[in-house]
Symmetry: C2
Subunit: 206 residues, 2 copies
DNA sequence: ATTCCGACCAACCGATCGGTCAGTGATCCC
DNA sequence: GGGATCACTGACCGATCGGTTGGTCGGAAT
């Protein structure tokens, strides 16, 4: 009996602060800063509004913290990519696949950053350098095998290409789903395979 | 004297309705549906709030109308692309260039649609078929020279690639600007040239 | 001349917004 | 056992939100 309660408690043993951050990420990613009230976040996290202001000085500070967390998650992900000794083709395939898997694993954080990106508001934001640094690391992964690239193709361009396509693909996923179901577009796995092939060899016939 | 007044009037001769729509597009594209109040739109258009509700039943209806207008603008743009008898390479170059120019010519509408896209809210939206139809037309432009494509490369995939890269490039423009200024990324013209080359021939050395 | 109608506005409505404040109960320190 | 600190709450604040109401005004129709 006591163990039942203890079980429930330990299963639910996230601090209010953690629950606030998680719910805020989810809600902000779905409806944006202005579309979510502090009350909604608080209720979803099971606390009262005033408690949110106990942990964060303002709604904006809560939002900034959530955004920073999402950026940091990607930095951590990058550490796990094993690319030493791999060829350009292998690296590209790995990056496309791992990046896409990451986006799908953390849809809320991804949407949040995409939202911020399309709003164009993160110019002077403290998140900006974080994104920049993550991008730079991917560029580095490709620069190590720059000799496999054709002349005049900069690693930064390739990195931009790959990340853009993955991000935009994620962003317009809903649009694709119907077309995939109708057979007008290939499945996700097939599309990814084609994409990598396309980046490597271009679209023209030999 | 009378002519001066007439001049001023004719220079300002947009109907309130037009001014409301234009200002609404601008403001919604910058701060989103929830970030803009009807009052702000009304003041920017030089009318009072009640007048907005005279022309539109609700804030949502105003937003939907603005969104639809932005989609239709792109459909009109597509009519102007002359591609008959052109090769795949020429078509790609033309599409990339014209599309990018269009995005830059109508930044508000572009941002508005991108915003809606990343919010993932336009599933059942009436705008959805409009976007779909525009995309289909671009696919058609490439399908006409499908024989120039390598086996297993679908025209729809290529269209998706091109439009995605342009749209995402526009979306993350602010992020790039600094890197271009620092010389870490090539200029826009050079980047576009590289992009087209890259799509045609891939990144691998021969 | 009167009626009608669409464009337009000031004033107002209830609801909700971000944020504040005084206070409660648990924990730890001395 | 008495402070001090902590996470936390209900009640409240002024401002602003989307939307409504009653009414003015000028021009076209009758």
């Amino acid at each position: 009996m006591a163990s039942e309660i203890a079980e429930q408690v330990s299963a639910q043993e996230k601090t209010s602060l953690q629950r606030i951050l998680e719910e805020a990420e989810k809600q902000f990613s779905e409806r944006g800063f202005d579309g979510v009230s502090v009350n909604e976040v608080a209720n979803a996290a099971g606390v009262c509004k005033a408690n949110v202001f106990h942990h964060f000085a303002s709604k904006q500070e809560l939002y900034d913290r959530v955004l920073a967390r999402s950026c940091e998650a990607f930095a951590g992900e990058l550490d796990g990519w094993q690319l030493q000794g791999r060829s350009l083709a292998e690296r590209l395939a790995q990056i496309v696949e791992s990046h896409e898997a990451f986006l799908r694993r953390r849809p809320h954080g991804t949407r949040l950053i995409l939202r911020e990106l399309s709003a164009g508001r993160l110019d002077g934001s403290p998140v900006f350098p974080l994104l920049q640094r993550n991008f730079e690391r991917v560029v580095g992964m490709l620069a190590e095998v720059a000799d496999e690239l054709r002349d005049g193709i900069a690693p930064a361009q390739v990195a931009r290409l790959v990340l853009s396509l993955n991000l935009f693909g994620f962003q317009s996923e809903k649009l694709d789903e119907r077309r995939v179901a109708l057979g007008a577009l290939p499945s996700r796995d097939e599309a990814r395979r084609q994409l990598i092939d396309l980046i490597l060899h271009g679209v023209l016939q030999r």
